[in-house]
């Protein structure tokens, strides 16, 4: 007997693998679906994703904490919503509108991200909305806007990767974080192309590459500038491209003048012969330059990305087939989430909130006066850090994010969250952030609602609803609509995904990220639609072939310099501490840590260190160790690996409690993107005491 199949996409990363959901003997199962990106392939996370649909840990009723020391108790939706309304009014009367903040997520559908931005600005009338994309690819977004005048993760479909001759992959462990994309790299290499991976660790991605440039943590920009220096010295520039399609090359030339090979070799630890080989390889034919969090999550992340864009432009590798710079976005809807207005400085369609024309356009759609539209608010970490401070937040709504685990300096943020006058968290499970909340709202999962996602290529995808949500569970749109109704604004905040998407299409018409030509039907028919896509026009799989998105049509070089790390190892904290992911867990683990099969694969929280360091410290494989920085400590099992430098400690950030890597990380922010420095701080390591081993 054949069961109906629902065509949808994986709930996790920006690869958004196509999949079918169906039922087999009453159980939900994932089946392969031939989609142009993953072509039936998936990783363990995708195959096991249905395990959460019937999870007994699921939240199925709102929870309310009536007083700070009281426990969370099940209440009706009416009681929970009335409580929120009462508290918000009280707080806004006393502290002003901006004392209420909203924190969104890169996993929310375009519909929900759009609605959340509108809800914050039109209903709550607060300037303070931002989202966890600041912890993800905000630096690449900022750099893309500066260099190209637009920010779309990849300017080409991912299958183009197979046609390139060389790919420089900077700070990305895609063999673990988005495994199905590797099929395109596999084809690249079958075609004779070369893969060059830049990473301080010998990750599975790096081990399978043609070149692994194992750089000193945090020195990516030095490498970028060093490669351009060599390109200039060896006469490898594409002068014609520079002259006709770019501006400001001179400032890049001067920037890299101080990055001669011997200096770069010493700072990065990559030997000069490799630096030269790689530069020549990239200069030779079609080349791509792809960054991910390893390059971007730095206090100089924007400049680091600009450094690699300088290199790509200098070699003339952009704006033509099988060439270009791209960002491998991390979160499921990291791309769409940053286009439609849940970012402090943005309005839908990638409009800017401080641009008067953009304000007028959006205000007209929303039926308010431009003066009523709040101005730019605080960025994610600044927003969280302002909790309880003078002029800071007194109340916070969190949707699709687990900031108690994912924020830098997480210990401090946890204390501040707990001390808020009102913390409202919407989630599937009682996440670490939800545990601190005053009101917890049970939300629908991906397979229980419809909505669009924009993957790392800028391809807009449709997730279809496979099952009805459990009794008592609402979608975020429903709850925002119910709240808006209580303030007499229900008609402004629709709850049906298709209605919201149609509004999003109208509002983004004529904007940079134009979705006006995209419909659910067109997405289904074409297997995704690339933005920008104006009503009545083709979509845009490849950007920049005619022109870049700046008014003059040219890409821009930038003067980017390395001025050191926010925190260097010293005698007290002698090691680099860096964070990242493992294959079988996702982000803060709210979902994946509840799937036994994935936990069995990832094992317990761990700290990776080099055998020579382990020997010296008397640490053996599996020992419980404690790592400590100036901001806090975390514990995990020692995992000994010669793929890491002997002065570097690595810890994945998927776990909560005292196993959170982000208890150590430093909230030094990139001045442009406000991205925190997740990738490098200084730490020490020691064997954990008996007490910690038991806890």
């Amino acid at each position: 007997m054949s069961q109906p199949k629902t065509a949808t996409h994986c709930p996790y990363c920006a690869m958004q693998c196509g999949m079918n959901l169906t039922q087999h003997e009453g159980n939900w199962v994932v089946e392969a679906r031939d989609f142009p990106t993953n072509r039936g392939g998936m990783c363990r996370k995708g195959w096991t994703s249905v395990a959460l649909l019937e999870s007994p840990q699921r939240l199925t009723s709102p929870l309310l904490r009536r007083e700070k020391d009281a426990p969370l108790q099940s209440v009706s939706w009416d009681e929970a919503l009335d409580f929120i309304v009462g508290k918000v009014e009280q707080i806004q009367d006393k502290w002003g509108r901006d004392a209420v903040g909203v924190f969104g997520g890169g996993g929310l559908t375009n519909e929900k991200a759009y609605l959340l931005g509108k809800f914050a600005r039109v209903v709550l009338k607060t300037a303070n909305i931002d989202y966890n994309g600041r912890f993800c690819m905000a630096s690449a977004a900022a750099a893309g806007n500066k260099a190209f005048g637009i920010d779309r993760g990849l300017p080409f479909p991912m299958q183009d990767i197979a046609q390139a001759d060389a790919v420089l992959l900077i700070g990305s462990n895609i063999a673990e974080t988005m495994p199905p994309i590797m099929q395109w790299f596999e084809k690249l290499r079958e075609n004779g192309g070369k893969l060059i991976v830049v990473d301080p660790r010998a990750t599975p991605t790096a081990q399978n590459a043609d070149y692994h440039l194992q750089i000193t943590p945090g020195t990516d920009l030095v490498l970028a500038n060093g490669l351009l220096h060599i390109a200039i010295e060896e006469g490898l520039l594409d002068e014609a491209f520079i002259a006709t399609r770019t501006t400001d090359f001179e400032c890049a030339r001067r920037a890299v003048a101080s990055y001669w090979p011997a200096r770069v070799e010493r700072i990065t630890g990559v030997d000069e012969a490799n630096l030269r080989d790689v530069t020549r390889l990239l200069a030779r034919a079609n080349s791509m330059f792809l960054t991910a969090r390893g390059a971007e999550q730095h206090a100089n992340g924007t400049e680091t990305v600009l450094g690699f864009i300088n290199l790509a432009l200098g070699l003339g590798k952009a704006g033509k087939f099988y060439n270009g710079y791209g960002c491998l976005t991390g979160q499921g809807n990291g791309q769409g989430g940053r286009e439609h207005g849940q970012k402090a400085d943005q309005l839908p369609g990638y409009r800017k909130i401080e641009n008067e024309t953009h304000r007028r356009e959006v205000a007209a759609h929303w039926g308010i006066s431009p003066d009523e539209l709040p101005r730019a608010g605080k960025s994610a970490y600044e927003l969280l850090d302002s909790m309880g401070e003078a002029d800071g937040l007194r109340a916070l709504f969190v949707m699709g994010s687990n900031v108690a685990v994912s924020s830098p300096s997480a210990g401090k943020i946890r204390r501040k969250l707990a001390a808020l006058e009102l913390l409202v968290v919407s989630d599937l499970f009682l996440s670490e952030t939800a545990e601190l909340a005053d009101v917890v709202l049970p939300a629908t999962q991906w397979a229980e609602e419809q909505g669009t996602m924009t993957n790392l290529e800028g391809r807009v995808l449709l997730r279809n609803q496979a099952k009805t949500p459990p009794e008592g569970v609402w979608s975020d749109a429903q709850f925002l609509n119910a709240l808006a109704k209580r303030w007499g604004q229900g008609e402004r905040i629709p709850s049906e995904p298709r209605v919201i998407f149609d509004e999003l299409r109208r509002v983004t018409k004529g904007a940079l990220a134009d979705y006006s030509g995209i419909t659910y039907e067109r997405i289904t028919q074409n297997k995704g639609v690339f933005w920008p896509c104006r009503a009545g026009y083709d979509d845009t799989p490849r950007l920049f072939h005619d022109r870049f998105a700046h008014p003059d049509g040219r890409a821009r070089f930038h003067d980017v310099q390395f001025f050191g790390l926010p925190e260097e190892p010293d005698t007290e904290y002698p090691f680099f501490f860096t964070t990242g992911r493992v294959m079988s867990q996702y982000q803060s683990g709210t979902q994946t840590r509840r799937i036994p099969e994935l936990n069995a694969m990832s094992g317990p929280p761990f700290v990776e260190l080099h055998p020579d360091l382990a020997l010296e410290m008397g640490i053996s494989e599996g020992d419980m160790v404690r790592v400590t920085s100036r901001r806090g400590s975390a514990t995990g099992c020692a995992k000994i690996s010669d793929g890491i430098r002997a002065d570097t400690l690595f810890m994945p950030f998927h776990w909560g409690g005292h196993h959170s890597a982000n208890l150590l990380t430093i909230p030094a922010l990139d001045p442009t993107s406000k991205m925190p420095e997740f990738k490098v701080c200084a730490a020490k390591i020691e064997k954990a005491t008996e007490v910690e081993r038991d806890s």
């Binding site: 195959w47 001067r254 001025f563 069995a600 020997l615 002065d647």
Partner: protein, 472 residues
Amino acid sequence: MIPESTQKKKLVVIGNGMAGGRLAAELVARGATKHYDISIFGDEPGGSYNRILLSDVLNGSKMPESIVIHPLEWYEANHLTLHAGERVIAVDRMNRLVQGDRGTTLHYDTLVFATGSRAFIPPMEGLSAPWGERKSGVFVMRTLRDCAGIAGYAQKAQRAIVVGGGLLGLEAARGLMEHGAAVHLVHRSNCLMSAQLDQVSGKFLKDTVEKMGITVHLDKDTKAILGEESATGLAFSDGTELPCDMVVVACGIAANIELAREAGLAIEKAIVVDDQMQVEENIYAVGECAQHRGEVYGLVAPIWEQARVLADVLTGRTAAYSGSKLAVKLKVMGVELASMGRTREREGDEIVCYQEAQRGRYKKLVIRDGRLAGAILLGDVRKTATLAQFFDRQMPLPEERASLFFDIGKGAGNTTKALPDDATVCNCNGVSAGKIRACIKEGANEISLVMASTKAGTGCGSCKSQLREFLG
């Protein structure tokens, strides 16, 4: 951080070379112009340029514009006042005034000496002609002008002598070779590049240099330059003499300290600074004119480290300079050479050494308390990057010391067929070898069937080659 005040403080920097220019960039990067009005004096007419690449301009491998770090517009765009081409002639500490030779007088709240250095000429007789100026045919090598002078004079010289067998002296000797003169090199000690090399590697280098046609004289302490109006030879303290037509003195650098001395600051070899690069209240020094814990540095890396610390200090951050770890990498006479740290052993040091005299290869590690204290690589410098990381970061060293010199292959490991049943083959989907064998036993005879049935290979695909081996 310094609170933003209505009245900005006046910061004056004397010098716009490698130290002053870098300090300016570090200050701009920290937003210091919000708190300071910054004025910089530079002797030279333009902005700042990368002096260490000067020799590349001289030999034609780089264009002059390619070594510019900050052109004049940069100073203006970043709200820095550059007095280009104006030399500071006096500092009045009582009234906190700086006076330039073109009439500029500035008040300062904070003053930085970044006056750099010049060529050092050791005391010797016969340097000057009777009229007081330096004797014709006697040169130092420091600026583009010096280089041009040497090149011109060398055209008509039969024999040139370079005094000094260090880095600079070898570079000068190489340069002179291009111009046809017979080149001799005299060195005071018994080892070339004695700051960077040990006896053995010094000997290797000497052999190579001599093979290239340069005559090397060791243990020669130059006492006097002979000749009336122009140089005709050198006299040494051992009583011997060596005739020549020109002399290039390459004996290192001397800090430019006259201005600071006249201002009454504490001077030893250079201007004495503490860990904050401070000389006294409101006065700092950075670069080749600064002496820190007894050391005066002449390499760019330490100078830029100092500039970074000073910029932190001036912008209210906590920072301390604790000295620099020295490393050089260069090509001398076609010989590739890297040297770092202390290359001469002390009692109790562990020494790891490898040499191939015939091929001019020499590698040496000096290990102290389990850490890399120094290293020399001569002839084969491929491991420089790795060693520099161990040296700079003081990382624990591998038990297998030889791996620091050579790439040692790892064992072949298990072949696919020998994998135990519980070994994971597909990491993405957690598929074990046993599961794959079972699947094949049940009749899956193609990779696509194994993939569809076990999901192995459907993630990143890196195990597909192993799947084929199971089938094969």
